[in-house]
Each structure stands twice: as C-alpha cells, then as structure tokens.
Amino acid sequence: MMASSYNIKEEDGHHSGSSGPGGNAVRTKKPDNTAFKQQRLPAWQPIITAGTVLPAFFIIGLIFIPIGIGLYVTSNNIKEFEIDYTGIDISSPCFNCSQSYSWNTTTSCTCSIPFSLDQPFESNVFMYYGLSNFYQNHRRYVKSRDDSQLNGNLDSLKAPSKECEPYRINENMPIAPCGAIANSMFNDTLDLFYIDPNGTRTPIPLMKTGIAWWTDKHVKFRNPGGSSSNLTAVFYGTTKPLSWPKPVYELDTDPENNGFVNEDLIVWMRTAALPTFRKLYRIIQKKNSLTPTLPRGNYTLDIVYNYPVRSFDGRKRMILSTISWMGGKNPFLGIAYISVGSVCFFLGVVLLFIHHKYGNRNNSSDIPN
C-alpha cells in the first residue's frame, strides 16, 4: 500500500517536473533514484530457520565424517616410538647423569638406554628430541635474540641488540650468538645403535642436515663474512654463550653446517609454541625400498647427557617417527572432524524434527494468522 503510493508520487513528480514550465531548467535537489542511494541494491536475504539451514547441517555432517575417518586412518598408519631419557626414575640408566648434571659442569656424562621396536619403520624416519615444561615461548625468552647477528651482520656481531640482555656481553666481549635462546641451546648428543640379534652394535647413520627450514638455512641464518671464510677469524673478538661448552664455530666440523648456519642451532632458534614440544634432531634416510629404514629389533640410544631439565621439572624424550602428508602422528584432527560431523548430523536431525513439528506453522499459518 505504501510502496505503491510512493511510486505514484515518484512518477507524478517526474511527470510534472518534465512537462511543467521551466521544469527542465530548474535543477532540483531531488535525490538520484539509484538502487544504491535508495538502498535497494539487489540482495540475497537468507532467513535462518530450521528449514533453511537443515541441508547445511546434513551436508557438513556428511562431508566431515568421511574426512575425519580418512584423517584418522592416515594418522594411525604413522609409526612413532618415544623414549623418555630424563632419568627421573632411579631405575633409569640416566638417573645419575640427571642428578649430577647442571649448566656449570664441564665433564660430560653419558648413558645409554636400550629399547626395541616391535614394528619396522619403513620410510624416512625422523628423529626428534622432545622437551616438556620448557617454556620456550616465554615473552622475554622469545625476544632474547638478535636476528641480524644471526644473519651475519658484522655490526650486530660485535654489538648485539639490546634485546639480548643479559646474554649480550660477557667479559666485555659480545656473545655470539647472543640472547637467552641461543644460550639455552639443547646440547645433548643422541646416537642410535641397532643391536643385531647376534649382539653387534651397528650405528645407524643420522643425517645432520635437512632438518631446518630451507629459508632459515639459506636466508635467515648466515655466517658473518660469507660461507667460505675462516669462521674462527670471523668470530674473533666474540665469546661463546655462557652455557655453551664450545664456541659457535666449533659446533660442527662441516663448514656448511657450522657457525650460525648449524642446523641444530637453527632448529633450536625457532622457538616452540608450546611448553611441550619436540624438535627435529636427525633424519634416518631410507636406504632402499627393500629393507626397512629401521627394522624390527633391539636398539640402544646413547646419550651424552648435557642438558639439565631438573630445575624446571622438565622431561627429555627421544622420538622416532615416520611422517605422512599431514605431518606427524596426531589423531586429533581426524577425531575432531568425525565428532564435528556427527554433531552437525545430530543437530540436523534435531532441526529436522523442529522443522517438521513447528516449521510449517511459521511458513504458512503463522504469517497470515
């Protein structure tokens, strides 16, 4: 009723405006009759009722549940082996090491833990070390680094950023790499030995490289003065972080994996998001398609126990894992998809019920009322 009368008015106005004397000449302030200005843009107006959203719930349910199952199966196919070598338990071989060791001790303590794999690990096996209760995400800890020093900037090497305080200068010499992150670098050494049924220990070759992000290794981290130069000379005038047993240029013998581009350092410098985390330590490469990378059998993990975690009730673990397209073993997403899908489906049923019982009233009988 209203709408039509308004239209009439508009037409009327136009008509008289154009035909009236001087109507063309007078520039009126009449607003433009455009869809935008009159707020009449064509629009989709969804109405959320049980009836209208019903399909969405069922579709979501029907899509999510298969995805979830797929994810769950994929995750379950991943083989993972985890061993805690913290040495809290007296029975643990590393108990002694864990008791005696602190940051200040210089002598190293070794222990070895035997374990056995029930199933062979087929493809490439990733060897992680895991830490618990280690708050690498602490606000002041996260900040305590100098990225340009790590990028090989010579100025920053000699004069590290203030952010590194109080791990910036030691005995009037700049620390390289400076900061709390580098200072607390994980420095246990882990070695794997396969125990043949006949008792011989076969060392398993562990790849040191390829564990860091390519961009980190090649862009973010660089040794000062380029890769070719003599690291000892370059780092002259700097000092090692307080907790480190040896300076940064002695981290590895391979010049491609030494200094700031040492991949263990790079991996460590990527601070973990959560207090329980794992970091890639080594990769055990698949030899060929015939023999599994890690066959079933007994193994020994030899540990040079340097890293103290007792002060913060931390745990240290060694993890062996294969990975799939979706990463490591984690059934969560699969379960999540399945449960969200089921919930959707269930709610869809509820809505169907509602729609069946009340929906008709709304759509037809309620409005005329």
């Binding site: 009723m1 209203m2 008015k9 008289s16 009126t28 009449k30 607003p31 200005k37 707020q39 107006q45 959320i48 009722t49 049980a50 209208t52 719930f57 979501i60 994810l71 940051w103 280690f134 708050y135 690498q136 995400n137 602490h138 606000r139 002041r140 996260v142 900040k143 990225d147 990028n151 952010e163 109080p166 791990y167 709390a180 607390s184 961009t215 862009v219 998001a273 985390f277 794992r278 002060s311 913060f312 931390g314 979706m326 984690n330 969560f332 997403l333 998809y337 969200v340 919930v343 959707c344 709610l347 809505l351 509602i354 729609h355 009340y358 709304n362 309620d366 409005i367 005329p368 009322n369």
Partner: protein, 1463 residues
C-alpha cells in the same frame, strides 16, 4: 533606562556631560559608535571604535601552526584517545613492553590522524568560505576620496558608512541612515537568517527621515549608543545623540542585519554598528550540538564492562604469573630470562610488571576502532537518509536534512512524540471557511464545496476512506437536522488531504518559488451570497449617503458592523502588497508619511487646517498617479515638523477636538467609479505577502467581497471597497501580534468618519474578555448581548469544527483618549530599558472596551497523510502527545481528524483554576482510571459492552481524597486533554508525578493553549521522569525550546520560518515523512548500529581471548602467539571493512514491510537488538569461539615441532575466518558489497601476510615471521583447520539462530519472512493482520476495551451549578465543556439565557465536524473554589435528562482575576 522625551530645552553642554558620565558608568553595558571619518587622520589612535571587532570573519578553528597541538588537544578530550595513548606510551617502558613501541603507536596515530584529517578538511572548507566572504565587495565611504569606494568586506570597520545597492548582501549590522525609498524605508529579505522569505521593512533612523537631500557622511557627527553585541535577532535598542543634543531612539526597525539581502530599494546608506563576529548573524551561528544517543550511552556502559573484563584478565594473568614464578623457587629455569639489568625479579614484582604488560597485550579488548567505525557508519547512514527520495518534497524542492550527525540510531528508539499542531500536523495553509458578522453566521457553502473539490482531486486514489470532508452546508440555518449522528459519525473518518492537487501545487510553487505567496486554494474564496449582498448594500448605502452628504454614522448598526468588519479584515494586519509582474516591487506609494511617531507629528496631523488640504489632495493625487508614475507622487505634502510643537500645545488642542471632528467630516472622497473599475482589473494580480498565513487568508477573504487591500505603507493603508472605491486609511499605529496578548491592533483614522479607530483582531478568548459589556437594558444593549451570545455560540461550534477562530473588534477613540494614550505610548516607545514591557502595557491600555464586529473561522487543513502517519506511529508503539497553543475545542477536533483521539476512547478533560483544584482533579482521574480499569481487567468486560452507553458523562467534583501516585503503566484507551492553565499547575513540582501518572496511562495526550515554555517543560518532565526517549516535532519559533529539550528534535521546514529547523536535529519537509524516518530509517539505523556495536565487542573479545588462553601455556608471561602486526592491524584492516558495510547497508526488514508493520518499530523501543544481557551472551559466545579457535590448532599441533608464530598465524587466520563468518550469520541482506568486502578482507589478510612474511628475513623482531605464511599455505593441515574451526566455532550460534527462527521468531524475523512473500500476498496478509488487530507482539500493550464502570461514589452530591455566578463578563471565560460527543448545545449562563439560547437541534448540525456519538467522556472540572468537594458520577441516561446542567460548566470566577488588563 527610560529615555525622557521632550526636553530639548536642556543645554547642549550639560547633555553631553551627562552623556559622558553615563557612558563611563555603563561602559560595560553599551557600545558607543562614532563615525570613522571623523578620525580618519588618526586611524587607530583615538578612534573610539578601534576596540571593536572588524568585519573580517574567521570561523576556522586552527591556523597552520596551531593545528597539530590544538587538534590533538581537542582529540584528547575524548577519554578513549587518552587511554590508547597511555597504552602506547606504556610500551616505551622496557620492563613491561609487549610490542615494539613504535608499532604500538600505529593504531593510535592512525585513529588520531584520520580524525585530524577530517578536521583539517572541514577547517579548510571553512577557511575557503571565509575567504570568499571576506573578499566580497561593498561600498565604503572614504574620507580622503570623498566618495564611496569599493572595499572588501573584511576591511569594513565599525563606524564606516556603507552604501548598499539593491540585491546586495549586507556585510555587517548596519544602522540605516538613508534610503532612496521615498518612504525612507528599506526592504530586506531575511531568508538566510530565519528562512522567512517575505520582505521586511526597515526604516531610516528618525532624525534622518526628513532629510530631503542626499545623506552626506561628512555632515554626520552624531554618536550612537547601543547595546553590546548579542545574538537576539529581534532586539536592538539604543539611541543616537546628535550634535545639537537631540536624541532619538533606535529600534530593530533601524538595523539591517548582516546576511540579509536588500530588496526593492535602490540605495541605502548606513553606518556599521556591529561587524564581523559581533554581528547578530554570526553570534547566532552556533555549531551543531553534540548529543549522545541512547545506544551510545548503553555502549559506554559496556565499554566500561570491557574495561572490567580487561582488568580481570590482566589480574588473573598477573597472579598466574606470580604463582608460576613462585613454583620454581630459587631454581631459575633457563627460559626465565633475567631483566635487562641482570637482576632477578621476585614473583611479586614480575606479577606487577606483567599486569601492565597484559594491559598492553589485551588493549584490543577496548575497541579503539569502534569509535571511529561508529562515526563512519553514522555518516553513511546520514548520507542514505539524506538521499532517500521518499523523504524528498517535490513542492518545496527540499529533502530531509540531518543536522545532528550522531543520533541517527535514536530515531529507532523513540517512545514519545511531542508534536506541535499548527504547521506540523496541519499545513499552516489557512483557508477562510466561514464567518460571523454581528452575530449572524455566514456559512460560505460554496466555499466549502470548493474546498471539498480540492480535496477530491487529490484523494481520488484513496477510496478506502470515506470522503465526508468538509461537507458543504446544504441546508439553511433553519432546516432540521435529523439522523445527525450517523452523518457526523462518518465525517469523523474523513480524510484530510493535502490542499489542492499536486499538479496545482506544483504550478503554484513554480509561480512563486521561495516566496510566501499563498496557494490558489487559499486565494480563491467564494463569497457567501448573503453576506455579499449585505456588503454591496452597505457599500451602495454608504456611497449614497456620502453623495448626499449625510453622516455615515446613520447607517444601520448591522451594516455598519459589516462594513467595519471588512475594513478590519483588510487593514488589521501586516500584509505587504506586491504586484506579480515585478515581485517584491511595491505597487505604489500614495503618500509619504510615517506612523505617528512623535507628539509633534500627532499635533501636526490633527491640526484641522493642515489636515483638510493635505489629505484630500493626497488621495486624489494618488489615484491619478496610481499606475503610471513610478516617481514620487505628492511626496512631501506635509510641511516640515513644526518646531514649536510641544506637549503643552497638545493640551491646548484638546479643547478643540469637536472642531477637528467637524473638519474631518469633509474627507477625501475618491472618484470611486474609476477607482473601483481600475481596481477590479488590478485586483486579481495583486499579491499579498503575510507573515502569518491567517492574515493572508483574511485579506483574501475580504477581497472576495471586493474589499481589497491595495497598498500598504508604513503610515497608510489603501483599500478598495465596493461602490465606495479607494480609501486611504491613515495608519497611526500598528501594535504587532504577540503571543502573550494573542492579538494585534491597528490604529487608523477612518477617512470616511474621521474617527480614530482601533481595529483589533485576536484569539476569541482574549477578545471576548475585552469586549465592552453591553449597557444595561436598552435595545442597543440587548442587541449587543445577543450578538455577543450568538457569536460565542458560533465560536464554540467553530472550535468543535476544528476551525481557527479569530475575533474582530473595534474601538473608536475620542481625540482625548487617543492623545492621552499616545503620550504614554510614545514614552514607552522611546524607552531604552524595559521597552517591551512598556509597549506591552501600552497596548493593553489601548485594547479595551472593544466593540465586537464579528469572528472568522479559518480552516487549517491537515497535511497529507497525517492521520495515516499518526495511526502508523501509534501502532509502532509511540505515544503521541500534541502540544498546541490552539484553543481546546479546535485542538480536540483536529485531534479527532488526525486520528490522534479515537472515537472509541474516553477523554479525560482537565480544566482547573487553581493548584488545589488541579491536584484534586489529578487524584480523581487517577482514581477513575484505576477503578475503571480494575473493573475492566476483572472478569466481565462484557458488562461494559452491555452498558456501553452513548454518553457516559462523569463529573468529578474534587473530593479531598488523595491516593498514592502509583501510576498505572498500562496504556488505556483514554485520551487526556489538558489546557495550558491546568498544565501550569500540573507541571508544578508537587503535582508533576501525579500528572505523569495520569498522562502515561492515557493513550493520547493533548495539551491546549500551552506556551512554548510549557511545551518544553512537558517534554523535559516526561523525558526525565519516565526515562523515555522523546522526540519533539514542530515548525515554528514557539517549538524551538521543545525541540531543543527533546532527545531528538525534528523541525518541519515549512512556512513558518527556519527557527525550528535551525534548532532541530532533523528537518523534514512534511510531517508524514516522520513515518518513514522513524519506522524505516530509525529502525535500520538502530538495528544496524546495535548489531555493529555488539559485533565489535564480540570481535574484540574473541580475538583477545585467544591470547588469554595462550597465557596458560606460556607461564602467563604475556607472550602472544599472534604476530604483533596482526594483533594491531587486525581491527584496523583485516576485519574492518565487512562490518562497516554491514553496519551501513544491512536491512533486517525491507522498507515496505517496516512501513506496513509499524509494530516492528517496538523492536527499537524495547532495545531488542541490544539488551544488556546480549553483551554478555556475545561475550560468552566470543569466549567459546576463541576456545575453539585456540584449541583446535593447539591439539592439532600438540607435541609437534611447530614454532611459535607458525602456530600463531593459523590461529589468526582461523579467528579472522570465524569472525567474518560470524558477521555472515548476522548479516541479513547480502548485496554484492557484502560479498566483496568479505572477500576483500580475506584476500587482504593473505596478501598482507605474504608480503609481510616475505619482506625481510631479519626484521620484525621478535616474531621474525620470514616465510611462515608461505610455508603454511603448503601445509594441508592448515587448510583442514581452516575448514573445521569456523564451523565448529559457529555451530552453536548458527544452531541457536535456526531454532530461534523456527521456534520463537522475533517480530522482526517474521517481518523478514514477510519480505519473501510476493508483494500482493503480503499486502493481503498485512491488511488481514491489521484488520484483526493481531498484536505482533505477544507482550504488546493490551488494548483493554473501555468499559464504563459502575462505581458508586460516596461523594455523589449535587453539582454546584447553581452556585455559579452568572455575570455577563463570564462569557469571555466560558469554557465549553461540552464534548463533541454530546448533542447538547452549549448554553452559558447569561441572564437571559432561556430567551437567547437557540434550540439545541438547530445547533447540532451547524457543526460539520464529526461528533463522537459513541464516545464516553469523562470531564473533570474543578468547581469554583469554595465548593464542597464531591463527585458527580452520572450515567448518560441521567445526563440526557438534564443535559444543560451537567454538560456546561463555568469556571469563570478565578479566570477573571487573571486577565491582565483588569488593572
């Protein structure tokens, strides 16, 4: 300081001395202006004007230098800005800093600079316009050049002489010293000041009037003393002191205001009094007011809650951090980094530091961008309202103006509307309908038919409503009226359509664009044949008599009255005549004289010898030169002022009055034949411009009877009468209309009788009070009484008809009376202080002992669509109060016509004479309401139906019982009518609660006869006491205070000037647009903003909560997994646009449906979109969603080698997606802009993230997110999370919405569903719904069917009728207590009332308006004081038996003492 007149004998020196002394004393209060040319050589030295502001205006706020500090200073007045700057600065403290300090400044700087740029732009525009204005040209007299030179406006100084030419705009406030106009007048158009398009006359200062030669600035050496600059446009006083010691008063008529345009005047010269910023126009220029909307107030409460939540979260984190630190004891873990100084922090200290850090991290919770976003959205909303073609009025080419930018959403939350009547509900286009002359009613049937025709043309398409209209009166006075009720009943539903057809109006508007000319409908009046005959009779008789040299006073009194009546209609006004060919060109000036301004003048004019010659020659000359000559005709017929004239001489003259009279007898007789013929041809082309439309209506009415106003000068009015021809009346005084006196008068000398006659025109209530009581018992007295009585009766009926009544009266003054009055009047006129009061008193002295000539009924037609609009607004749950200055009956009838009052509802009328009576009445009505509606709400509402009588007339006679003021909150079907006097009592502190209790339980309230102040008091009372949102709508200056007080003020940009518009927040061209403005735009603005604000709170809380959850996994260290760039720009960039688009464009229900279902408006009234609990619901939802967004990535990446920011970036992404999808759920209409904005936001986020993550491998410490996003995009896990998280997060909300939509849909949702229904079906459904009155709202106000109760009141005692004194004067205060519903004639208690009263049946049908036969009516009338308390409660059956006793009440006793003129 009353200025003494007539003391020219005082020595010049003493005067100056005295003057100087005075000046020094009141230096503070006045300003002295000298001519600048006297001081030209010593410019700047001793020029006394040097301290006054010059004419350069500068409205800019800033200069180039001061911009930054001043703008910052102003912005920091906003608390939020201070808060954010504080946070940003906190970042510079190393121990607590969370972000890079520079980065943390970014949002604050961004917000500040956006505002600053906006301010700068506005200021620049102001600067541009200032510059333009300052560089306009005007002519200023230069001493050195001895001529007027072109100057820039900015160079004009106080004391300069400037010459103004036609159509020039005044550069400053100028005192008019000379004009090329022969009358020494200057016409100005003040449209820019007050919007009134009619011309106003300004007059040369008196001392310069008689200057025959051109004004020479060099000869000027007077000193002007006047008020300090002030902003009162209608006041200016001061005096000018000449070298010779003579002093003259200065009035506002002498002052030309800056900004006005000179019209019709070749040239004028004046001296600048106020310049630049001190001009009245500039002082009136106050910027837009800042109002805070209800929504914003509510929002601020929730902002406060956000602060509380923030503090709680920070405190929680701080304590957590303290405990976390404490558990490690002395063993410091490696990751607990020492402070930069290397000192170990104790848990407590670190907790305190952390508290501050957390405030920085969580700052986003307080939505920094919310304030800016709201402003942007509001500007867009204003833009759209402005652009709405439906709110555009073709006729006036104007559309809605939003003058307040920040209260658009208040429009959606109104609960009470206070409306003015005249010009707001009605058109303020006055149409003469009928009149009474000498007690005889002339009903103007043809005129009524004509009006009905106009109506039909326009209401063709509107068949649904019966078109009784103003039915032409077909029967004669004596015919019987049978079955009146039915007919009248149907008339009540007549639709008042807009005057004339649209095409016709358009034509009119083209003809008279931007002028105050009346529409043809107002002009073409069909005369009543009877009256026309009488007029012709009268004219011819008079002609005959004059021809035979008979005394005119011998005409029969009836005819005399008719004659006087038309003369009064024609001349008792301030209408300006112009000819159409040259609009604004005065037709002709016949004579050159000003009104009597001095005693000398008086004497001069009334000296017999001079007068005879002067006037006779003048009028004949005038006719000769009538149309041909444009030069001054008979310019200075009067000799120069006689120097010797003194008051003493006046005294002498008095003795000679009879002589004068005799001499006056030979008056100029115009050669009528030629005059009238010529006039006849002219007549059609004359145009009248009137300040009030009533005046124009009357003049047009008179013209229909060939009594036309031909010309008006300051001192003379020329009219043309049938048979008599042109007559020039010497206009001695005009006592302008004011709202206190409610009347205006002119004092003229009648050229025919030479009598000094006062014609007064005014509201019937006041005029009737001033009528000279008829002499005792001779036939003349009897006749007089009869006339009075009849007139009063008709007036009452007019009132019931909804006509505006005006009484016309005259008074013949004897020369002595006039002289004595004149003396005091002149004193008053020249007084500087208290002049208004003195003039007022002077007017009161003149306007007494009047002789009633007749009365007129003018119809003020309802505006287009008013009843529909009111009905719609009422269905929208708005309480509509009408506050009008009109008389009660008129108001009630207009109220019926516009459906404000419903025939089915009862009406409580409150008329009290004293505070006590008022209190009692209020108590009684409360009782009544309670009793009545207790009854009706109890079991048997049908009993009411059974008993539902035609008239239930209840009369309360105030018993002293008072009851509690526990007001009923339910709105009943009751109407309350209260008059201004009672309102004054009711608004008293002690009674206001009761008044409100009564008023709020009534569905409609009508306050009649209320003053502007009362209007604003009512609004204020309701607003403050009931805590409701009020809207005031009005069109005139009398509504300004009301408009300013209300939460939202709406001005009608109609015909009564711009004052209301200037004071308003929104200006509408028509009342009916209010419907769309409120129901559609108000609703939209409200729901959009409410949803946007809630969404904002949700969004920020959701985002911040993510970080809060993370604190549990980072030792409450204040660490954030979200990169600080994302954290800071999330609100400003990534999530900002979609919500702005939705906040601007979203329509929950279409405009059509909103108008068809006004009930949907209650959504806003009840704040349904944004209730306090909704904030918390949103918060809970936000926390839930953030939990999902946090823990899905948490578990997905649990115990993995993910690093902090590779894990945080997906969370950010997920949060963004969730937030956008959430907005999607809340968005009701999806236009391409919504899609685009959401897509844009997502793309923007990824683009920014990619660029940011690729830009620098070593920067952005500490996150250093190099290549993070790129790597994530290659991770299937990321996509899997992106799919599941938003769905899981929004599942509950979506499910809830779906259930709500199905199980308990809100009215708005039902409305939205209606949108989907095809148009035809929808209309059908809506009509059905409205027809059945199905409340959309389950909780809507119950419409209780009125039931007349059977309360038996213990106090029922006899009404004190008989005790009432019946004096003839009582007539004037006679209040017709009759309700339209009752068919009794109003009989007042005159002595001879039985013999004079007309048979009731005769009167009934006289009222053409709808009577309300079924209406129940409660009348609360206080008895005269001293009456014993009692209540009369009568059933209508009884009342029918004794109608006259019950229905008529007189409350005259106290009223008498109130009339101001009873000295």
């Amino acid at each position: 300081m009353a200025r003494e007149i007539g003391e020219p004998g005082v020595a010049k020196s003493s005067t100056t001395k005295k003057h100087k002394r005075r000046k020094s004393k009141k230096e503070i209060k006045t300003r002295t202006v000298h001519a600048n040319i006297l001081y030209d050589q010593a410019k700047g030295g001793d020029n006394p004007n040097r301290h006054y502001a010059n004419n350069k205006i500068k409205t800019t706020k800033y200069t180039l230098l001061s911009f930054i500090p001043k703008n910052l200073f102003e912005q920091f007045h906003r608390f939020a800005n201070v808060y954010f700057v504080f946070i940003a600065l906190l970042n510079f403290v190393p121990v607590v800093n969370a972000f890079q300090p520079e980065l943390a400044l970014a949002p604050v700087v961004f917000i500040l600079s956006v505002t600053a740029i906006k301010d700068l732009w506005e200021d620049y525009r102001r600067h541009r316009s200032d510059k333009e204005i300052n560089h306009m040209d005007c002519l200023v007299y230069s001493r050195s050049e001895r001529q007027y030179l072109e100057c820039y406006w900015k160079e004009v100084c106080v004391g300069d002489f400037i010459r103004l030419r036609c159509n020039e705009i005044l550069p400053a406030d100028v005192l008019l010293l000379s004009s090329s106009d022969p009358d020494r007048l200057c016409h100005i158009e003040t449209a820019t000041l007050d919007g009134e398009t009619n011309l106003k006359q300004r007059q040369v200062v008196r001392s310069f009037i008689d200057l025959d030669t051109e004004f020479d600035p060099l000869k000027y050496n007077s000193v002007i003393e006047c008020e300090k600059p002030n902003n009162d446009l209608n006041r200016f006083r001061g005096y000018i002191t000449h070298r010779n010691g003579r002093r003259d008063g200065l009035y506002k008529e002498n002052l030309l205001l800056r900004g006005c345009t000179i019209r019709n005047t070749e040239e004028a010269v004046g001296i600048v009094i106020y310049a630049g910023h001190e001009t009245k126009a500039m002082l009136n220029n106050s910027g837009p007011r800042y109002k805070r909307s209800k929504l914003e107030r509510q929002m601020n409460v929730d902002v406060f809650w956000c602060v509380v939540i923030l503090l709680v979260m920070c405190l929680f984190s701080a304590i957590g951090h303290g405990l976390w630190m404490f558990q490690y004891g002395d063993k410091r873990p490696v990751f607990d980094v020492l402070s930069p100084e290397g000192t170990d922090l104790s848990p407590v200290v670190s907790a305190i530091y952390l508290f501050l850090t957390m405030i920085i991290v969580f700052q986003v919770l307080i939505p920094i961008s919310l304030f800016v976003s709201i402003e942007i959205v509001k500007i867009c909303q204003v833009y759209f309202i402005h652009q709405d073609a439906d709110l555009y009025d073709e006729e006036t080419d104007s559309h809605l103006q939003c003058r307040a930018l920040n209260i658009t959403e208040d429009l959606g939350q109104m609960q009470y509307i206070f409306s003015d009547k005249t010009g707001t509900l009605t058109e303020n286009k006055m149409v003469f309908r009928r009149c009474i002359v000498a007690g005889v009613e002339y009903s103007h049937d043809a005129n009524a038919r004509r009006l009905a025709m106009y109506q039909e043309v326009d209401s063709e398409e509107d068949e649904g409503l019966s078109r009784g209209g103003t039915l032409p009166r077909k029967e004669s006075l004596t015919s019987q009226h049978s079955g009146g009720k039915a007919v009248l009943r149907s008339q009540s539903t007549k639709s008042h359509r807009r005057t004339g057809s649209r095409a016709e109006a358009k034509r009119a508007s083209i003809l008279s664009k931007h002028t105050a000319f009346s529409s043809p409908m107002e002009k073409d009046i069909t005369p009543d044949p009877q009256l026309r005959d009488k007029v012709n009779d009268c004219g011819s008789q008079m002609e005959f008599m004059r021809f035979h040299n008979q005394l005119l006073s011998q005409i029969s009194p009836d005819l005399q009255d008719v004659f006087d009546f038309f003369i009064a209609l024609t001349i008792c006004n301030t209408v300006v005549v112009s000819s159409p060919n040259q609009p604004r060109q005065k037709v002709r000036r016949f004579e050159l004289k000003s009104p009597v301004k001095t005693i000398e003048d008086f004497i001069k004019r009334f000296t017999p010898s001079r007068l005879t010659s002067a006037s006779s020659s003048s009028s004949s000359t005038s006719l000769a030169t009538n149309r041909s000559s444009s030069h001054r005709a008979c310019s200075s017929l009067l000799s120069s002022p006689s120097a010797e004239s003194t008051l003493a001489r006046l005294e002498e003259e008095r003795g000679a009055t009879p002589g004068i009279r005799g001499a006056l007898g030979t008056t100029p007789a115009c050669p009528h034949a030629g005059g009238s013929v010529a006039g006849g041809s002219d007549e059609g082309e004359l145009r009248y411009e009137a300040e009030s439309p009533d005046e124009a209506a009357l003049v047009y009415a008179a013209r229909a009877y060939k009594c036309s106003l031909v010309g008006r000068l300051a001192d003379q009015v020329t009219i043309e009468l049938p048979h008599v021809g042109r007559l020039s009346f010497e206009l001695l005084h005009t006592l302008a209309f004011d709202s206190t006196r409610k009347r205006m008068s002119v004092v003229v000398r009648n050229p025919l009788t030479e009598q000094i006659t006062v014609y007064t025109k005014g509201a019937d209530s006041v005029i009737m009070d001033l009528i000279r009581p008829p002499a005792a018992d001779d036939s003349k007295g009897k006749r007089q009484r009869k006339i009075l009585f009849k007139t009063q009766n008709y007036l009452n009926l007019y009132g019931m008809d909804g006509l505006r009544t005006l009484c016309i009266a005259k008074r013949v003054l004897s020369k002595e009376q006039y002289a004595s009055w004149l003396r005091r009047h002149l004193e008053a006129e020249t007084a500087i202080q208290g002049r208004e009061e003195l003039l007022f008193e002077s007017a009161l002295r003149l306007e007494t002992d009047l002789h009633l000539l007749g009365a007129t009924g003018i119809e003020d037609r309802l505006q287009d669509g008013v009843p529909e609009t009111i009905a719609a607004l009422r269905r929208a749950g708005l309480q509509i109060w009408v506050l009008t200055g009109d008389k009660q009956e008129t108001a009630i009838n207009i109220a019926y016509a516009c459906k404000l009052l419903d025939p089915e509802e009862e009406i409580i009328t409150l008329n009290a004479d004293s505070q006590e009576a008022c209190a009692v009445l209020l108590d009684e009505s409360l009782h009544y309401i309670q009793a009545k509606f207790l009854c009706s709400s109890s079991a048997d509402p049908c009993a009411a139906g059974v008993f539902q009588p035609d008239y239930a007339t209840l009369q309360f006679h105030a018993p002293p019982t008072s009851s509690g003021t526990a007001g009923p909150v339910v709105v009943h079907r009751l109407g309350l009518v209260i008059d201004g006097r009672t309102l004054a009592y009711a608004l008293d502190k002690s009674l206001e609660d009761k008044f409100l209790a009564v008023a709020r339980s009534c569905r409609s309230v009508l306050c009649c006869r209320s003053t502007p102040l009362q209007k604003s008091m009512v609004v204020k009372l309701v607003r403050d006491k009931l805590k409701v949102m009020t809207l005031a709508i009005g069109d005139g200056a009398n509504d300004v205070s009301m408009i300013q007080v209300a939460d939202v003020g709406v001005g009608i940009s109609g015909q009564e000037g711009m004052q209301a518009v200037m004071a308003s927040d929104f200006a509408l061209p028509r009342f009916q647009y209010l419907q769309k403005l409120l129901l559609v735009h108000g609703h939209w603005c409200y729901s959009r903003l409410a949803n946007m604000i809630l969404y904002f709170f949700y969004k920020n809380a959701m985002f911040v909560a993510l970080i809060f959850w993370y604190q549990f996994y980072c030792g409450f260290s204040g660490s954030a997994m979200i990169d600080q760039w994302y954290l800071i720009f999330f609100n400003l960039m990534f999530s900002a646009f979609p919500q702005l688009i939705t906040g601007t464009l979203d329509k929950d229900v279409s405009a059509d449906t909103l108008q068809e279902l006004p009930q949907l408006y209650m959504n806003g009234q009840n704040s349904e979109e944004y209730k306090p609990y909704m904030f918390w619901m949103n918060m809970i939802d936000a926390f839930y969603q953030s939990l999902v967004c946090f823990f899905i990535p948490y578990f997905a990446y649990a115990d993995s080698d993910v690093d902090l920011f590779t894990w945080g970036t997906p969370i950010t992404t997920l949060a963004l997606l969730t937030i956008l999808l959430h907005l999607g759920i809340e968005t009701k209409t999806w236009t391409w802009m919504n899609w685009a904005s959401i897509a844009f936001s997502i793309v923007l986020f990824f683009m920014v993230a990619m660029c940011y993550n690729a830009s620098c491998p070593t920067c952005y410490s500490p996150s250093n997110p190099y290549w993070t996003m790129q790597r994530l995009l290659g991770d299937p896990l990321f996509y899997l999370m992106c799919v599941i998280t938003p769905i899981a997060a929004l599942l509950p909300r979506y499910f809830y919405r779906a259930c709500q939509g199905s199980l308990f849909p809100s009215p708005v949702q039902v409305g939205r569903q209606l949108d989907k229904v095809p148009l035809g079906l929808r209309r059908h459904l809506v009509n059905q719904r409205t027809a059945h009155r199905t409340p959309l709202y389950p909780l809507g106000p119950p419409f209780l069917k009125g039931c007349s109760s059977k309360i038996t009141d213990p106090y029922s005692s006899n009404p004190k009728q008989k005790a009432q004194a019946a004096s003839p004067i009582c007539l004037k205060s006679m209040e017709m207590k009759d309700t339209p519903g009752s068919s009794k004639n109003p009989v007042n208690h005159l002595e001879h009332h039985d013999e004079l009263s007309l048979p009731s049946s005769e009167i009934i049908w006289l009222t053409s308006t709808p009577l309300m036969p079924q209406m129940e009516c409660v009348q609360l009338i206080s008895p005269p004081s001293g009456a014993s308390p009692g209540v009369t409660y009568q059933k209508n059956q009884e009342s029918l038996d004794c109608p006259q006793q019950n229905i008529l009440k007189q409350t005259c006793g106290e009223r008498l003492s109130d009339s101001p003129d009873s000295q």
